[in-house]
């Protein structure tokens, strides 16, 4: 997917003014946030579970090479094939080849963020293949020709009315005029339309929530059951996923499942948990003839080797963005790539570079709510700060900011100078603002004054009032 993260500021400004989006985002607090809180409060050991989740992910990452090889042999033992893709281009080629060899004309797709990353849909469409997203949210996004704005609720930015209008336009020859005023009516209509696609597809592509090294199994969780149909009905099942998805055992996967549903949607467990372990066996009632797993690196092994390894623990629940006040002010689109919110502020620059995505780690108040709710205890604010450090070290920070910082830091290290230098400007500001208690205009303070008055200093600086007693002269 081509990144558009450089346009962050412009798109954030647009998002702030787009009322339907603001209405949708305003519902997060009483919606997903409250739902998560309720189920977490019902589980007294949730905090221990988070620590356990982090430990499971860390163990998997520490021995990732071994677990991946173990996973590969298990898949092969089950009759499936594992394909290794260094980057998005290689992954696209592999998926295109599989679809070509399967003679695919229609491909159904379950949700896969790794699939978004490598641009599976665009690649197959270029080959003249019809790609139908089967996750309801992704399906709506596809009709709208947009990008997901959330990793769990891709069309959270659209209103019910907008969705109804999309269905009316795109389903004209299929379902005709009908009531589209309720969520259940929309779901029912999508079900009817998608049913035909499930039967028509030669290839079904899904992602993976977890890969299990000991069995070669793939877990996907959905609330619509589209995952089951995408992976069992077509003749060929392709899994596109990142190499970091692997965990050692089934037990580990089930521990993580307990965290995932609660953190993502406030559910104890999602409606469907689908395990697929290779192609159909002779005595299976259904299942695909071919089973392919495309393991995508796309920068992950570089992350594994460096100071951002903790980010690879991520289980893609979306809790960080649900709790992020910045995400909840602007939605997911300004982030400009696959992953929005706090996890996106770390992942996007690591994938597409800080030149493209320099705004993302900066558009964060370091309030720490994301880290507090992360089910695998990723220290998101400190990773975001590390990215700022990289930015600074690489000379990507604006020259004026650097000079200002350096000058300020110099005086901050020399207290006597600092106290002398701050005294008179503060006295001046106080005089200017004394009558009203605040300033409505202030040169060189546009970032502040454009949105707020500037509270005037309440008196002389503390250090020009504090007596210089011997004991205090340290």
């Amino acid at each position: 997917m081509k990144p558009e993260s450089h346009a962050f500021k412009r798109r954030a400004a647009e998002a702030l003014r787009y009322q339907p989006l603001q209405d949708a985002l305003a519902q997060f607090e009483d919606g997903w946030v409250a739902k998560r809180r309720t189920v977490v409060e019902r589980l007294p050991e949730f905090e221990q579970l988070r620590a356990q989740g982090a430990a499971i992910r860390d163990e998997a990452l520490r021995n990732l090479d071994l677990y991946l090889e173990q996973y590969e042999s298990a898949v092969q033992r089950n009759g499936g094939q594992v394909h290794w893709a260094r980057d998005a281009g290689e992954a696209q080629e592999i998926v295109r080849r599989i679809c070509r060899e399967a003679g695919a004309r229609t491909v159904t797709r379950g949700k896969s963020m790794a699939g978004e990353e490598i641009g599976v849909t665009e690649a197959l469409q270029a080959d003249g293949i019809r790609v139908v997203d089967t996750d309801l949210g992704e399906y709506i996004i596809q009709l709208a020709e947009q990008r997901p704005s959330h990793i769990v609720f891709p069309c959270v930015h659209l209103t019910g009315r907008e969705v109804a209008e999309l269905f009316r336009r795109h389903h004209a020859g299929k379902t005709g005029e009908r009531d589209r005023s309720t969520v259940s009516a929309i779901v029912q209509e999508a079900r009817e339309v998608l049913r035909e696609e499930f039967f028509a597809a030669e290839v079904g592509i899904t992602g993976a929530n977890f890969l299990v090294a000991e069995t070669g199994s793939n877990f996907i969780v959905t609330n619509e059951g589209n995952g089951d149909l995408t992976c069992t009905l077509p003749r060929v099942h392709v899994v596109t996923t990142g190499i970091e998805r692997v965990v050692p055992t089934l037990e580990d996967a089930s521990t993580l499942l307990r965290l995932l549903g609660r953190s993502a949607t406030g559910q104890e467990i999602t409606a469907y948990t689908t395990l697929s372990t290779g192609p159909r066996r002779s005595d299976d009632p259904d299942g695909p003839d071919e089973y392919h797993v495309v393991l995508v690196d796309n920068g992950r092994s570089r992350m594994l080797a460096g100071e951002f390894r903790e980010m690879l623990r991520c289980i893609r629940c979306g809790a960080c963005m649900n709790h992020c006040p910045v995400y909840r002010s602007i939605g997911g689109h300004p982030y400009g790539w696959v992953y929005p919110g706090p996890m996106g502020a770390v992942l996007t620059p690591l994938h597409v570079g800080l030149k493209e995505a320099g705004d993302l780690p900066n558009a964060c108040t370091m309030n720490g709510h994301c880290a507090q709710v992360c089910p695998v205890q990723i220290p998101l604010p400190s990773l975001i700060r590390k990215l700022r450090g990289r930015q600074f070290a690489a000379g990507l920070t604006p020259r004026t900011t650097v000079l200002g910082l350096r000058a300020w830091a110099f005086t901050a290290r020399h207290p006597t100078l600092y106290h002398a230098l701050t005294r008179w400007p503060i006295a001046l500001l106080r005089r200017l603002g004394r009558r009203r208690g605040r300033l409505r205009r202030l040169p060189l303070a546009g970032g502040w004054i454009s949105q707020r008055d500037f509270p005037a200093p309440a008196g002389k600086t503390f250090f020009s009032q504090w007596p210089r007693r011997g004991e205090d002269e340290r």
């Binding site: 954030a12 400004a13 702030l16 607090e29 006040p325 910045v326 002010s329 900066n362 558009a363 964060c364 108040t365 370091m366 309030n367 720490g368 709510h369 507090q372 400190s382 700060r385 700022r388 450090g389 600074f392 070290a393 920070t397 900011t401 910082l405 350096r406 300020w408 830091a409 005086t411 901050a412 290290r413 207290p415 600092y418 106290h419 701050t422 503060i426 004394r434 208690g437 605040r438 303070a445 970032g447 502040w448 949105q451 707020r452 008055d453 500037f454 509270p455 005037a456 200093p457 309440a458 008196g459 600086t461 503390f462 250090f463 009032q465 504090w466 004991e471 205090d472 002269e473 340290r474």
Partner: protein, 260 residues
Amino acid sequence: MSPQSDPPRSPTVGLFVTCLADLFRPSVAFASIRLLEHAGCRVSVPRAQTCCGQPALNSGDFESARGIARQVIGAFEDFDYVVAPSGSCMATVCKDYPDLFADDPPWRQRAEALAARTFELLAFLVDVMAVTDVEARLPAKAAYHDSCSGLRSLGVKEQARRLLGRVSDLELVEMSNAEVCCGFGGTFCVKYPEISAKMADDKIHGLETTGADVLLGGDLGCLLHLAGRMKRLGKATRVYHTAEVLADMADAAGIGDPER
């Protein structure tokens, strides 16, 4: 948090004034001194202090941040405790200074030793000095905003409410979004002013829903930002630092209000 075991009966406390209190609101520092002395501490205010270095740290200029951290550690390491009327600055000293010296063992050791004795003002008064009462009065209906660093990095939450609950004539009400970031975020508020203002507006909306006429908080950054935004919007809500109220010094003008 439970009271720590056996603090010295009258410990020496180095007050870290914070740059914002020094420049914009010295009364917050004077209020802190009053509260600490009343709790039995011997308070000193070293003149060799300016700022904790957070602006450099959060801008990714770790070298400058380290320089300032060394300066702070040197100025404060002889006291029994370091206390500041700010969760944000104290979280920097407690959590970030040791990380800044990850590759410098001698300084790391000094940073960790200091971090272990460093506290946000209200957490110190309640958890270390076991203060249970205050002599203060404020006839008002007030809401307390939980500043993020204090809340999430240092666990400052109940301490503030417990002490504010002892202020005469003060009705303390809770905002439903008390724990949501107000949008200050240091340099964030000037780099992304529109997003910052939207977050402030959400906070202000939560505040107005409570019917409070006073907003209190433990970090001047948040308070200057929220007061500035409320003034811009023409709101009459008065804004004070919690320390000013607890030290019975909230009869002065609120933040951004004309001097009386």
